[in-house]
Assembly symmetry: C2
Homo-oligomer: 329 residues x 2
């Protein structure tokens, strides 16, 4: 076989510096080395433009300095933000990120976990939906938004708390009758608690409410038909609406306007996620903002923590309400 690449190797550096191979390795890895040797080696490295071979080191140490991130895609702005902050957090620690897009495909979720193992990654951060996913035992694993078992740390926003905040806010803003709607995986995951929190909050503040949950896979316009069916004399029997996500809120607002309902004058709408225009500009709707950066940071520090077993099995990070023009502020 002809060598494709002909960059300098440690042996080249050693020869150039007139020292032993092991000495070069020690310099590279910041171990104790005599000053004279060290400078000789460093000069040789400079001169040859040496950079260590990642595969060689990985083969030898069985560590890749890489964390696999398994996520549906990067098109959805919430995922895009997550990926962004995960990357920042990983880079800060000199880790590389191996990105795997599942496109919500459950087969792929499994396949990527295999691939991550095959690549000997140092850990996996996953946001998945497959109910039958089995988590590898031999590799640090952290999940987002979905609880597997007490041995697999789950990082999520405080979805329940977010639901409560939404209820209180609608009440505070003068709503007298509320509706919660969502569509999402039938899987019971952390976001499911948005409803529970909302219900709890409505009871707390004495706000009458209804809920409507659509099954996964149904088209969003089932919401539309529901609203249409509840219209009477050009009015809806609700003046407050809490939606499962910003995306769903955005969709329903278009429907409301089409039905001649004004937002926020007739109906106030709160979403969930904190999606912004162009990723970092204005909010799209009034919303419960997920602490994306903190979630990412926590995922990384958790998956890299030496003693995964000592880590809490569910970490909920605080959310906050933010006005985005679809409520009366």
């Amino acid at each position: 076989m002809t060598k494709a690449h002909n960059g300098p190797t440690m042996a080249d550096v050693a020869r150039e510096a007139g020292v032993a191979l092991g000495t070069v390795s020690r310099v590279i890895n910041g171990e104790q080395v005599g000053e004279a040797y060290k400078t000789k080696v460093e000069e040789a490295i400079q001169k040859l433009g040496y950079r260590y071979n990642v595969s060689g080191r990985a083969l030898r140490t069985d560590r890749t300095n890489t964390i696999a991130v398994i996520i549906p895609n990067t098109i959805n702005p919430y995922f895009a933000a997550l990926v962004h902050h995960l990357n920042v957090a990983l880079e800060k620690r000199d880790k590389k990120m191996m990105l795997c897009f599942t496109e919500y495909d459950r087969g792929r979720e499994i396949e990527f976990i295999h691939m991550a193992q095959q690549n000997r990654v140092d850990g996996i951060i996953a946001l998945t939906y497959n109910p039958k996913l089995t988590i590898p035992e031999d590799i640090p694993f952290v999940t987002i938004d979905r609880f597997f078992s007490s041995s697999v740390p789950c990082i999520a926003a405080d979805n329940f708390g977010g639901g409560m905040i939404a209820a209180r806010k609608l009440k505070e803003l003068g709503c007298t009758s509320a509706l919660f709607m969502r569509i999402g995986s039938t899987l019971v995951n952390e976001p499911s608690k948005r409803k529970d929190g909302f219900v709890s909050g409505c009871v707390e503040v004495g706000l009458p409410f209804e809920t409507m949950i659509l099954e996964d896979g149904q088209p969003l316009d089932a919401f539309d038909r529901f609203l249409e069916s509840r219209m009477k004399d050009g009015k809806l029997p609700f003046d407050g609406l809490f939606m499962g996500t910003d995306y769903q809120a955005w969709h329903i607002i278009k429907t409301l306007r089409r039905l001649g309902i004004r937002v926020p004058e007739d109906v106030q709408v709160i979403g969930f996620d904190g999606i912004r225009m162009f990723g970092d500009q204005e909010l799209i709707v009034s919303t419960i903002v997920q602490p994306v950066q903190e979630i990412a940071e926590t995922c990384v520090s958790t998956v890299l923590s030496k003693h995964l077993s000592n880590v809490p099995s569910l970490i909920c990070l605080p959310v906050r309400y933010a006005a985005g023009g679809t409520t009366k502020e």
Copy 2:
């Protein structure tokens, strides 16, 4: 050293199957092997759940089956879409993607190219801004939106053509006086041609026009002040506006509305990129749509093509106009 990982190796498979190590390798790589041997090996692989070690193979072959993608971030929806389609195109060819986010940092652009070389990637796809970037000779390199030299293929949308289309469209929609504004890197790259095409198109159709180019780094509200300065009796001397990007168009529309100018009744606005809400919903403004998927596909097929030298040095892909509510259709 204690082995961290204890997955089965080729030697284990060979032992299990009662064949030689080399035979296992040949089966894995789909080379000619006797039928009986082949099945024995495949059974052993199944039984042990063997998967080849990526580092071992990479070390031996000096090929990683990985393409580095160097891009500012994934927050910007256009980049997010690009990354998405690049990933699809790469996965289709069983290549892995090594994502590098530069955050527009020129030092990082250089650093990532080094890192990619160090990781022995099979190719690099880069969207960069550093004027002093030197392209490695020994590794297939493709750039997006920016021409380096005839030996480095550049893939871009037909920015010039897009500018022309915008001019023709504004004329067709009844505009009598147009303005082009943009802010962007002082670097002369492909997107710079949006203006040239627009100017050319205006001349062609006989549409009077002005242009205003902001230097990179200036705040966007310099646009606002410019518009304010041109206001007379609550009116602007333009009724057609072509902006360098959808983001800038979006910004300027807010300004216009603040100034009491109606869009599209008083002024029609066209952007560039084709950004959609939530990545795949409605357009944000009327716009010239970049063929993101084709760009991604072309980048991948080009960087993987055996004979990079035979490839054209600039590939422009066709754009199209799409109405997005900020023009009179």
